[in-house]
């Protein structure tokens, strides 16, 4: 396709957004969600957009394609791509640019690929139909991209269907799809957020290599400043649709001007007081094995949780950490092994456990959205375990409900609300209060902060530590996030493919000498320095 836009020379401005204002429709009202953001992006430059959920990062990213999500509209400003105003041109011209000159890589590649078509057909589609490239040439270029993105067996990779490749590979395939027409601008929208840390490293490396080789301009969106630090030259920190701070990457990490920027790594700054082992174990897991059908999810697990202690169960997705939580909660009967609670054998299924036994072990889920019944008020959600375990009713129960709300730092008026009227962090606090209502001795926390923003996470983790001090409750904290482990754990258990590969006191596990898999896991966690990825590559090469 011949286009005046393709003759953008190196160093020229590719994208310039000025005073962009976007409104979203919320219940018959138009609210401004992007409030006058301006940015410029030159060829070969990577600009990171960082912020928490709802900051408007993705909305700005899509606006760079001249696209607005359903329910959003432009309220002002301009988006200029290579000198032409994207928003002023007709939709048909914008569509011709998308996929060829401006490309987009979405967060969830698994949801973005058509599962019924082979990868190659989908990757070359834009090049063939929009770019007018012969299919054979497009396929050859795709294979070259597969090679440059370090995908296995690049010649035949395209013959596979999306379900036949791993999540990390699919994300790289999507990057290949974005690059096939040699665009001038690529928008990456949280491309590695859904991946495990060890996979993330590979994807980050290959994306970065591809960006450098092709010299495109990149808008890199992420909630994780540590990741953006590896990819971008400059960073713009967004909050509530406004640019809080914009600076080169090194200066934003070393000397953030705005206090909000610092809160983006709030969890990293948490320092938990550690609790010495008191000697008597509250929970003992002995040789537990479990499976889903023929798939063995857990194999010979041995661990112990001391009274008043926090044991972190760490591992990547599929390591069996949540399965172990379900086994302990009595929701999944194990194939073999014994659970002991306070010295007594814990029956394998809920039905066989007495009411008092059930009371003493509680579980909190990752997603408070689905863990709270959307049709029940907070009062009913908290009131039920009070009635069920403690037989409370009437004024007594009401008093205790309000007490629980105060314990999780929520106002008493929240008792009347439905879960939909609470924010994510507040919902998780209600879920915690529901567990506390039983007055348990052990709480299984299954990734309870993973879906939350850093500052909200930090608040909840601090509160949990505080509750532990006051109530002497033990936590089995299931997480994939090493920062969370550093913040709150006393002991750490590392799980990989259903087996324990490492366990011990936090200081022993998380400091040298490392066990192999633990080292891999720790190395893969992005650090808040721009050269982390480079050093990692050097170390691995050595």
């Amino acid at each position: 396709m011949t286009n005046e836009l393709s003759v953008v020379a190196a160093g020229d401005t590719v994208l310039s957004i000025s005073d962009l204002r976007i409104e979203a429709r919320v219940k018959d009202e138009w609210l401004e969600i992007v409030k006058g953001v301006s940015l410029t992006l030159r060829r070969g430059e990577v600009l990171g957009l960082v912020g928490e959920s709802g900051a408007g990062k993705s909305t700005i990213g899509l606006a760079a394609l001249g696209y607005f999500r359903a329910g959003c509209r432009l309220a002002g400003g301009s988006v200029r791509f290579g000198g032409t105003d994207l928003l002023a041109m007709p939709e048909s011209r914008r569509r011709a640019l998308r996929g060829t000159k401006i490309a987009y890589v979405a967060q969830s590649a698994a949801a973005s690929f058509n599962p019924a078509k082979r990868l190659m057909d989908q990757i070359v589609e834009a090049a063939v139909t929009r770019g007018g490239m012969p299919r054979r040439d497009a396929a050859a270029r795709a294979v070259a991209l597969f090679r440059s993105l370090q995908l296995p067996d690049p010649e035949r990779f395209g013959d596979r269907y999306p379900h036949q490749v791993s999540g990390g590979q699919l994300q790289r395939a999507m990057t290949a799809m974005a690059m096939i027409c040699q665009p001038d601008l690529i928008v990456f929208d949280e491309p590695t957020t859904a991946l495990d840390v060890t996979t993330q490293v590979e994807v980050l490396l290959s994306i970065r290599k591809a960006i450098q080789e092709h010299g495109v301009a990149v808008l890199y969106i992420s909630h994780d400043l540590a990741i953006v630090a590896q990819m971008a030259h400059r960073v713009m920190v967004l909050r509530y649709g406004e640019a809080v701070e914009e600076a080169p990457i090194a200066s934003i990490i070393d000397a953030p001007r705005h206090p909000y920027t610092k809160s983006l790594w709030a969890v990293r700054n948490l320092q938990g007081a550690s609790h010495a082992a008191t000697g008597d174990d509250l929970l003992r897991v002995e040789q537990i094995s479990a499976s889903y059908g023929t798939f063995k999810a857990l194999d010979g697990i041995d661990l112990a949780v001391g009274r008043g202690q926090t044991v972190a169960l760490v591992g990547e997705s599929g390591s069996g950490k949540s399965t172990l939580g379900r086994v302990i909660a009595g929701l999944l009967p194990p194939d073999g092994g014994t659970l002991r609670f306070d010295g007594a054998v814990l029956p394998p299924v809920v039905r066989k456990r007495g009411k008092d036994m059930l009371r003493r072990v509680q579980i909190i889920y990752q997603s408070a959205d689905t863990a709270l019944n959307p049709r029940h008020s907070v009062r009913k959600i908290l009131g039920r375990p009070l009635a069920f375990f403690h037989g409370l009713s009437g004024a007594q129960r009401e008093r205790r409900v309000l007490e629980l709300l105060r314990m999780v730092e929520l106002e008493e008026s929240y008792a009347d609300r439905l879960p939909a009227q609470l924010s994510g962090g507040q919902r998780q606090r209600v879920a915690i209060a529901r567990a506390l209502a039983a007055e348990p001795e052990l709480i299984i926390c299954d990734e309870i902060t993973s879906a939350l923003d850093q500052i909200v996470q930090a608040g909840i983790l601090t509160m949990l530590a505080d509750l532990q001090r006051r109530l002497g409750v033990s936590y089995l904290f299931i997480t994939h996030d090493i920062e969370v482990v550093r913040a709150i754990a006393d002991r750490v258990v590392v799980l990989n493919k259903g087996r324990i590969v490492d366990q011990g006191a936090k200081a022993d596990v998380l400091s040298p000498p490392f066990q192999d898999y633990t080292r891999l896991l720790l190395e893969s966690v992005p650090e808040m320095t721009p050269d982390w990825l480079d050093r990692l590559v050097e170390r691995r090469a050595a």
């Binding site: 059930l358 039920r384 009347d416």
Partner: protein, 291 residues
Amino acid sequence: MSDSAIVTPPESLVRRSLKGLRGAPPTAIVGLVIVTAYILVAALAPWIAPYGEYQVVSDMPFAPWSSENLLGTDQLGRDFLTRIIYGARNSIGIALVTTVLAFAIGGFFGIMAAALRGWADQILSRFVDAVMSIPDLILTLMLLAIFGPAVVNLILIIAVLDSTRIFRISRAAAMNVVTLDFVEAASARGEGLTWRIVHEILPNILPILISEFGMRFCFVFLMIAALSFLGVGLQPPMAEWGSMVRDNAALINMGDITPLIPAGAIALLTVGVNFVADWFLGKSSGLADDE
């Protein structure tokens, strides 16, 4: 999102429904007016009907429209308008009882199948598949032939056959809810099956079931009318719109539109109920919107 959320004070059910009504589309309002009118006619039949249900008022069958008999008389010389008014009572009443029964049966087993899974689900689902594989009308006719066309038999047979569809809907809807964490949390707490169904599952699938109720009511109503038209539904001398169409069909040949009035009454009610059901379905599909 930040840690502050939108504050909406809790509202009473009456105020909420009034508010919901104000936002209703015109079709829903029309539907509501139609349905309300039918219910009033059915409930007040003995007071608004000019004559008795079985009362023969004229020596002449098929009398034309006149001041005594506004819509003329039927094949036995009974007042046609009176028969239509009583027909509303019989048809709507029986269809309502049948639909309620069908929902009770189908809903109960559907939710049980979703909650219990395993062999209970297999047995129930395969049984329902088997029943659904036989065409409804033929099976109904067969069963009515076996048990005889009494009103109780009619209600039971249609309710049982219709409950298979409600079984599928409630099972599918409950399946979606059963897998959510809050139901598992209730199991982990040690709650019994009944509590889980009544408090955790049912409130979340009720909007779907209510909107489906309107739709199923129409089908049941049409089924009864069709059976009556075929002569195996409600038996004479009970007034029923389907059989009134059949009994007076000959008049159409003479250019008299009277037999089309009960047919129109059936059609109008079906449309009205569907308008209301559509509105409900739209509301219930967006769970978050109505809160």
